[in-house]
């Protein structure tokens, strides 16, 4: 039992990272209806910027964090302005492919900068483990977990109770209609990408805290995508819950199924869950069911 709990909690920690990555994807989808493959790169760049200020320039924590947020947000904004804005009103698949193209181009930049090296974030959080009832939790990951929860709370507050949030939700449903009510849709898109950039930076920093900054980092975007879809592409709560769940399923699956099938369960656990969820609930666990009128 202790063992199971330990695996689950380790899974929860990883899951919170997935949830953070997924949050950015959900934000973008919610208002622009674009499923962004490029998000993994935003995450990676967020981590890289943070490393640059903290490890590269040796700035203190906050002084590194703020410019990292700003730069990632700007990158998000640039993606929206330069690449996606011209595609407004064009088929959504074109926008999807655009994010794929951006993923490749940004990967090139990422690789060009790294030159085959691995960048490691300095320890900016307290190290060591917390031991409770035979279960040990790394403190820095626990902090990451709490930050994730806080961020989700904050995001849902923004969506529910601010004017900007209302505008975002309205835009999410119908761009033309939103325009006709005086919402400046393009501005909303910009805000969304900025917000998504900041969330990506948080996700990137939290992930790089666990996994170094190297070539595989952007590919966490794929995990984020699975989570976003399972949770329902337009549901933040879904991203959080499914993110945590996926972390647990992967970890517990690897713990108990791997010996039975000869390894590598982690690879497919997520996809198996995705398939199962979609078969039972075609719009994800928490996604809005489209109100269809014939």
């Amino acid at each position: 039992m202790i063992e199971f709990l330990q695996h689950s909690i380790t899974g929860l920690m990883t899951g919170s990272l997935y949830a953070l990555v997924a949050a950015g994807i959900v934000l973008v989808y919610k208002s622009t209806h674009v499923v962004s493959l490029a998000h993994g790169q935003l995450v990676a760049f967020g981590a890289l910027f943070f490393w640059f200020f903290l490890g590269g320039l040796g700035l203190p924590f906050w002084a590194g964090l703020i410019p990292a947020f700003v730069l990632t947000a700007l990158l998000g904004l640039a993606i929206e302005r330069v690449a996606l804005r011209p595609l407004i009103g064009q088929p959504l698949l074109a926008a999807f492919l655009m994010t794929f193209a951006l993923f490749i181009a940004l990967e090139g930049v990422f690789v060009l900068y790294l030159k085959g090296e691995t960048r490691t974030l300095p320890h900016f959080l307290p190290q060591g483990n917390l031991h409770v009832a035979g279960i040990s939790v790394p403190i820095n990951q626990l902090i990451g977990f709490c930050v994730a929860l806080l961020l989700f709370g904050l995001l849902s507050l923004i969506f529910k109770h601010t004017k900007l949030g209302l505008g975002m939700r309205a835009t999410a449903e119908d761009h033309r209609l939103a325009q006709s009510t005086g919402i400046v849709v393009k501005t909303i898109f910009s805000y969304i990408w900025i917000l998504s950039g900041i969330v990506a930076a948080v996700a990137g920093i939290a992930t790089a805290n666990v996994m170094d900054i190297y070539y595989m980092l952007p590919y966490i975007g794929i995990n984020g995508l699975i989570v976003a879809i399972c949770g329902g592409l337009d549901s933040l709560a879904g991203a959080l819950i499914v993110g945590l769940l996926l972390g647990v399923v992967e970890n517990v699956g690897a713990a108990y199924l791997d010996p039975l099938v000869g390894g590598g369960i982690k690879d497919v656990a997520g996809y198996a869950v995705l398939l199962l969820v979609l078969l039972i609930r075609p719009y994800g666990l928490f996604g809005l069911v489209k109100i269809e009128r014939i």
Binding site: G89, L166, D174, R176, T181, I183, I291
Partner: protein, 264 residues
Amino acid sequence: MLSINNIEVIYSNVILVLKGVSLTMGQGDIVALLGANGAGKTTALKAMSGLLRTELGEVTDGSIEFEGTRIDHRDPEEIVRMGVVQVMEGRPMFEQLTVEENIRVGAYSRNDTAGIRADMEEVYGYFPTLARMKDRVSGYLSGGERQMLVMGRGLMARPKLMLLDEPSLGLSPALVKEIFKIIQRINREQDTSILVVEQNAVIALSISDHAYVMENGRIVLDGPSAKLKENEDIKEFYLGLSQVGKRKSYKDVKHYRRRKRWLS
């Protein structure tokens, strides 16, 4: 307050939809725009509200002026801020939002919290049905309720000019009457000018001060509504009355009959 001077509209650089349309409206007027499907009525509305540009349409000639300012090359958001609100055809709404949130979105371009609150009460005054279902998700509303909601949402922007596109489409006769009564009330009480595009010529002519008739992207006829009601062509082709003033039965339509085409 609104004057459209000989505008031409082209879609995706090829399709010429409006071929010189002119129209003027005064403060507090109700103007009806009649015409067959595909005549270009909706396009004309979209040209005024700026929504054309999101559909690859473009005003290529002529000008649209609202209170002395040219608006034909502005973004729809800006035009809404200036006080021109279009209530689109088909009653589109934010289906996942509640009724109240839908109405709040209508006031998105405004920043006066107190004023918005007061206006919201006013809208609920016009449409008591909406007040009752404030917290309902709007996607489940019926056609009539939807029409009220979109009009209420439009009112929240405190428009000086409201463009209504086919408010009666698919509504029962009783509801149509009710909706048009409210339109008249809004016009009276808020001094909002209203431009209404309608298929139901009978009711449109009965509440409007002035009417225009469009065909094939041109205005072919206009005049005070009372006068147009007496026009023979209007009678036959829009009101469905034959010469003697009696309605012709649909059963009696012949396989060949006189069609009216305006030459221009």
